[in-house]
Symmetry: C2
Subunit: 249 residues, 2 copies
DNA sequence: TCTGTACTTTGATTTGCGTCAAACGGGTGG
DNA sequence: CCACCCGTTTGACGCAAATCAAAGTACAGA
């Protein structure tokens, strides 16, 4: 009991540890991209704490007051929107260096929920202060706009996928997207661990979990990938690409 | 021939007519929202020309250099993205007061194409200058961020629709969305003219044109709407809402 | 270590939407 | 005013993915 409590105190003190952007190895992927070292230090002063989020915990819920955006420092998240009738849909998966909460800027509340898919850490960036700072630093302002716009472009890609691709194409595109993002972070592009369940993949891709599972099996039978539960190995990247490109069938 | 040339000159001079935001009856829907009159005048100075776009003409193509965003002054547009294999998908329809080209901010080129669905006029807003101005005017900066974020939220709505709704639900949601936007512009919420074809609706909603047509007919048979070609009359708004809310069937 | 639970896989069957096809209607240009 | 063409409607049929069902597997907590 007492050891549990002290562990908690320890973890709280760790939570409030300052983590400077200037020291962060993700800075080239994240918000500080392109800033001079002086400018990065000004950004540092905004980011007061990192926050730990345990697997399964929410970083924020839809409806929560919007105050900050979050940069994923370590770990893996999903965001999802809820429909009034109870249906929900995963709108994205976020990994290290990616931003969470951009949808909240439009109003005063978050419009989706963010859940950690593994134990994670995020940097909270108070948005009002970020706006002030970006008025002062054109490079930061430009980058913030690009980040917001990139999110729109990304969503268009998903809309394309949901609106005009078949199950195999969707899953192939999904795997290639993950692969590329892992690669950009220094991990293997061909072998990785899925942090999400088949159901979450299905929700994101507009498919049922059984379809996701079956399609993984088909890919394996075709020698495109090897699947063992959540462990994926891409055997034929080009083959996956071909699958998407081929016209309508 | 010569009369054609002089008509062109005339149209060019009309094109370069200055249309001030401060005089525009859309300013409460559009970028100047919330600005003081002094600030609106500063915004005026950015917007050098309005541009006419005839029905069927492109405002910009995917791949065009990105320099400006556009505010629809009159008319109706669609935007679409192209896949390498030739498939394309409509990503949105834009009416008066709405902005076009936000996806281009992420890079140096537009990522989708914008086509006028009826003779239209737009205000071109040079983006680099807009960024400069928004550094100076916090209200404008805040509003620009909201607009960008709102686009993300809107796209999440479409993803929801494409990923987890059935054909009838998609079309009902589409009609209700149009209805509301017409209402916000002072037009009838219950009776309007569709500017797009069944195929374009289908492309946007991830359905084939035959399915769109059939679903319209079903709605009409159920007394929810009345359809005559492109003329729509909503007879039972609540019924359309119910259709979306009801769980899974 | 054992047990329960959550996740995954696979099979059988159903169904909503796509595809193919043909007829119809309205607006546009000659 | 007429004829053509594009867009729309409607029907018949097929298929991809959903649904229903059941067995198998991994992992967390007792």
């Amino acid at each position: 009991m007492s050891s549990g409590t002290s562990a908690k105190v320890l973890s709280l003190s760790l939570n409030s540890l300052k983590v400077a952007c200037s020291q962060c190895n993700l800075r080239e992927l994240c918000l500080p991209f392109g800033l001079s070292s002086h400018e990065v230090h000004r950004l540092d002063s905004l980011i007061e704490t990192r926050r730990k989020v345990k697997r399964g915990q929410h970083l924020y819920h839809a409806g929560d007051v919007f105050e900050a955006i979050y940069a994923v420092k370590t770990g893996f998240f999903k965001t999802d929107v809820l429909l009034e009738d109870g249906r929900d849909q995963v709108t994205g998966f976020q990994m290290a260096g990616e931003l969470l909460g951009l949808d909240g800027i439009s109003g005063d509340a978050h419009t989706c929920s963010a859940v950690a898919l593994e134990d994670s850490e995020v940097c909270a960036i108070p948005f009002a202060e970020l706006e002030n700072l970006s008025s002062d630093i054109p490079t930061l302002q430009r980058h913030l706009h690009r980040v917001l716009s990139r999110e729109i472009v990304k969503d268009h890609g998903v809309m394309m996928l949901l609106g005009s691709m078949r199950a195999e194409e969707r899953l192939a595109a999904f795997l290639l997207n993950l692969s590329q993002r892992f690669l950009a972070r220094g991990y293997s592009a061909s072998e990785f661990h899925l942090r999400m369940t088949r159901e979450e993949i299905g929700s994101y891709l507009g498919l049922k979990l059984e379809t996701v599972s079956r399609t993984f099996s088909h890919f394996q039978d075709s020698g495109l990938i090897s699947v063992q539960q959540k462990h994926i190995r891409i055997m034929n990247t080009e083959g996956l690409h071909q699958l998407i490109k081929q016209k309508n069938c």
